[in-house]
Symmetry: C2
Subunit: 390 residues, 2 copies
């Protein structure tokens, strides 16, 4: 089969994938709602410069092997549709399928018998074979069987996506056996370390389980960190010797932010609680609450340190250093650092913020006061977790 | 310094250590309350045959470089005392320091200025510098400073203790700097992969943290296993692909038994709850409860499978296969398999038990009815977690 591949969604996950496919010599149509981004890609310019190796690939293939377009009609001759658009969650961590539904219905609009659709967006297990299937079938008036449908979770990590795609194990599973086989044979052309699993739902759960492992283990690190503090033991020293080939205690933090790790446990928590199986997700829920509650722990520590400064507490200038959800990535979704800064203000403390990636105006745009750390009485560094009084 | 080493406690952890020290050419006096065991060792016979490599060492050194005795007076010329006796916990998981106190007071009775005492028994962090120190000081009328006191957690694993002692990283920490240095220099003579940490309490916490990592991660595996079951996904398949260099999802089980993993989290839970810091141990407590509650999950599964058998439920012969806390080790402390068998009986089911390591009489000695699995209508294998109906 001669594959003509459409990649729907040219974001942090989609663009590296589209570029890697084009680099394998396959013809790729990239679809993205952002016209500016499409233009940029077509002139060979990389819109995600922090992604190692991507500059080169976009320069080589942008506008040629990889043609970007905001228009689904431009992909009507494609026979493989890879959907890798964002899935946001609301403040109660309920997924908002809006973007995904729109993308899948648009794909459905140009879907032909014999085509293959592969979803890569991380979703609650079961989504591909229920919601995604229904949207595609409705919009195309075709049935699974007429077309193939599979799921393969993206496993990229911002900054390392190209190497991950080239080396990291990737799984793919179909909603039926034919779909699985069809998807595997296509993906094998551009993913070297690929495994087929028995169902799409299995592939969906694999991705979510990884996130749960991370979240619960960060929670464990945070809990052990608090315990070590109370016992008067240096946590990092203990951790460095506790860890070995069978022990992987993670690093403590202000909590877990971003679009991935803090979201995935909720997919399972909500799936089980909907079935009234509250007891089935107690550990996941406790881990989530523990991580989200770390900002209270740090607030307490900051207040205790502030009390030692020879000024009325309300006058102690506190600077929260680092607002992005992780260091070096200018993203704020569920950033616990941002929440910590806001919590300090809410508690009536004289709190300010600073971030190496943000201007004064950008900090103020987040509803906080900006302060150069050198002018603060107390600095809390969100990434090193160090409190420095001046 | 010419070391003359006493190892107090020649059990599963102490005897391999004593044998490894003797094998390094150091003179070892082994002390154990069990006279029979001492005699056996002195005639070159290994009382722990399942311990790989131990036969050879006991044959070589028993009664010679390693002289076993029930009498502390025989060790009065020793200048290094390594204490590695069991610490049991009561049914509420409160440590019973009885054996440890007796051993340390006995060591105190023969302790001389300049001697070194190293505790290896896993204990609640802080024990060496509080309880152990007090017992030694009282019994010896000496003070730390006159003698050295340190802690180095045993990290053996039944069956692999010799290789663990020879290769696995081991830590040691003193109650003061001199003690740490003295202990390090002695241990370095027989432990190749040795690190000194800043305090005895740090070394104590290192061991307990490892146990907590294991316990919480088994709990996570059990929770994900139950979720996968409800979602209709094969857990083991998903796990095998979810795991990679950054993801280490453990195996599900009937819970966690034995003297170690299920006990250590309680050391921290009780230490924090005593300080009214209930919020500091929520994850550890949830993990413990989840693991201990797995027998309810398996009971439910066994009942559901039994209902499909064409007999009144009360007549379905259920055989629990495997009663030891783990396969191949004839130990029952906090065995969840034993608890599961008892729970089934308690619920009025027609439940029996069988174990490859136990005679009919031994099974009955545990308060259960014995049944050959071939005569059961339903077999639950505690180690493979498989339910087989016949």
């Amino acid at each position: 089969m001669d594959e003509r591949i459409a990649v729907v969604g040219l974001g942090n996950a989609g663009l590296p994938l589209a570029a890697v496919i084009a680099d394998r010599g396959l013809k790729v149509t990239g679809i993205d709602v952002n016209r500016e981004r499409c233009k940029q890609i077509n002139t060979g310019l990389n819109p995600i410069p922090q992604e190692a190796g991507l500059d080169e690939l976009i320069k080589l293939h942008g506008g040629k092997g990889l043609a970007a377009t905001p228009d689904y009609a431009d992909a009507k001759d494609c026979n493989v549709f890879i959907v890798i658009v964002p899935l946001f969650v609301d403040s109660g961590f309920n997924p908002d399928f809006g973007i995904l539904e729109k993308a899948l219905r648009s794909v459905g609009g140009i879907l032909k018998p014999g085509d293959l659709v592969v979803l890569e967006t991380t979703v609650p297990p079961g989504t591909t074979d229920t919601l995604a299937r229904a949207w595609l079938e409705e919009a195309s008036s075709l049935k699974v069987g007429d077309f193939h449908l599979a799921y393969s979770p993206e496993r990229i990590m911002t900054g390392y996506s190209i190497s991950r795609l080239r080396e990291f194990p990737k799984v793919i599973g179909g909603v039926d056996e034919d779909s699985g086989l069809a998807a595997y044979s296509v993906y094998k052309k551009f993913i070297s370390n690929l495994s087929m699993v028995s169902t799409a739902k299995t592939a969906e759960l694999i991705k979510v389980m990884e996130g749960c492992y991370r979240d619960v283990n960060v929670a464990l690190a945070n809990e052990l960190f608090k315990i070590a503090e109370r016992l008067g033991v240096e946590f990092y020293e203990a951790r460095s010797y506790a860890n070995h080939q069978f022990c992987h205690i993670h690093l403590p933090s202000t909590g877990v932010g971003g679009h991935c790790i803090p979201v995935y446990p909720w997919f399972l928590i909500k799936a089980m609680e909907k079935r009234e199986l509250f007891g089935n997700v107690r550990l996941l829920r406790t881990g989530r609450e523990l991580n989200d509650g770390m900002i209270d722990h740090w607030t307490e520590k900051i207040v205790l340190a502030s009390l030692k400064i020879n000024k009325p507490l309300k006058d102690v200038k506190i600077c929260v250093k680092g607002l992005t959800y992780r260091q070096g990535v200018k993203e704020f979704y569920h950033s616990r650092n941002l929440s910590l800064a806001k919590l300090l203000v809410e508690k009536g403390l004289n709190a300010y913020a600073w971030d190496e990636l943000m201007s004064k105006e950008e900090v103020e745009g987040k509803g906080l006061y900006w302060l150069d750390p050198t002018e603060a009485d107390l600095i809390f560094d969100c990434f090193t977790l160090k409190i420095v009084c001046r």
